[in-house]
Amino acid sequence: MSQAPKDIDALIDLMARLPGLGPRSARRAVLHLIKKRGQLLSPLADAMTTVGATARECLNCGNIGTSDICDICASEKRSIGQICVVEDVADLWAMERAGVFKGRYHVLGGTLSALDDIGPDELRIPKLRDRVTTEGVTEVILALGATIDGQTTAHYIADELQGVQVTSLAQGVPVGGELDYLDDGTITAALNARKSV
């Protein structure tokens, strides 16, 4: 049982619900925040209040932003011909970190799953269909996981989107990877997707 005052205990309980934190690490984090009240606790509280009030899902692509239309959708520098379809916002951020894709995104909010009975209507697939017809899209890039559910979703979307080029990310040897350490599935996928040098 915690010896902290009630308010601090409540904060520890809330922190312990965050991914990567348990009760013990939450207690350490809260103690650290209290010790660094000026530099960390107050700015963190302010930032959380601001994000809590402004963060929302982009009505167009499903990205998280601070307005109804996110910065990426609103940017004129972004190509309108390409849409990259990702499973969730974390994947969008990963693509943005790489900094090579200059088009726009579409966040599905999950993948089709036969086992969990997640069908197309539970995802943002109808909205993607609308965007392809109304935004002058020429290519849809499917950046979905190399998993059974990810690829089932990719094939479903490819079947749904007629009259537009649908491509998907390659699968194979990662940069810096050595064959000896790769699993059989990755080696098979890499061999199937081999190209002329």
Binding site: G20, A114, L115, A146, T147, I148, T152, H155, D184, G185
Partner: protein
């Protein structure tokens, strides 16, 4: 501590907490078994936990009725072979979701297990797979107590000109014995008798008949949940690629 080791095909994975996964495996001797895989969502283990993967599993629990924990060793992955093949993916989804839905937990279904492994190993061979899948559904019905008896006419006992199946008993009925009941009987495509060319139309007709027994006999015996949509999607895919 209770412990057993077995081999099986992975049916289902779901996240459990931050780092673990709960998996369901169709094992050779212990049937459908569930357990926790610690670190199952890690970069090292998650790629092994794709539905259809053949695994060597060790299950441990303090008491028999506990969920228990698995330690796993991959034997072979089937994911890479099916990912670029729509029919294979639809097939894998159908097989794993049906088994998850209909198999009782911890009950030995060895004959069905062996047919399932054979079927999964054929994934990607589009020309033979639909027929293999049909035969697998027949074994599934048989193994779970709803098998069809197509050896002779239920009315006359003759084994020629069998063209119907009774929707109630699953027994074959001959052309002449059907009489006024013909429009109430299910068709018995030749492929179900191991005859004919086994073309796609014949296989789909046969799957409609087996589907009747899955939907109206097997599934109601398990509760209210309908058969997974994945089967309907597989049938659509077979028809498209026909």
């Amino acid at each position: 501590m209770i412990e057993w080791r077995d081999e099986g095909a992975l049916l289902k994975v779901r996240k459990h907490g931050e780092n673990s996964a709960i998996i369901e495996v169709f094992t050779q001797s212990h049937g459908r078994a569930a357990g926790v895989v610690r670190g199952g969502t890690s970069r090292k283990i998650a790629p092994m936990l794709q539905p259809g993967a053949q695994l060597d599993v060790t299950w441990k629990a303090r008491l028999e009725e506990h969920l228990g924990a698995f330690t796993i060793e991959p034997i072979r992955s089937r994911a890479a072979q099916v990912m670029s093949d729509r029919l294979a993916l639809a097939g894998l989804n159908a097989v794993t979701s049906i088994l998850t839905h209909v198999l009782p937990e911890r009950e030995d279904h060895r004959a069905l297990y062996h047919r399932t492994v054979q079927l999964l190993d054929l994934l990607g061979q589009g020309e033979v797979w639909p027929l293999a899948y049909l035969q697998w559904e027949l074994v599934l019905l048989e193994d779970l107590g709803f098998g069809l008896d197509l050896s002779a006419c239920a009315v006359t006992g003759r084994n020629d000109d069998l063209i119907y199946v009774s929707p109630r008993t699953g027994r074959a009925v001959g052309r002449h014995a059907a009489g006024d009941w013909a429009d109430k009987l299910l068709p018995l495509p030749h492929v179900l008798l191991g005859q004919g060319s086994a073309d796609v139309a014949d296989i789909l007709a046969a799957l409609k008949t087996t589907g009747h027994f899955l939907n109206n006999h097997l599934v109601p015996s398990l509760g209210d949940r309908a058969l997974p949509e994945a089967r309907a999607r597989l049938l659509e895919r077979i028809a498209k690629e026909g």
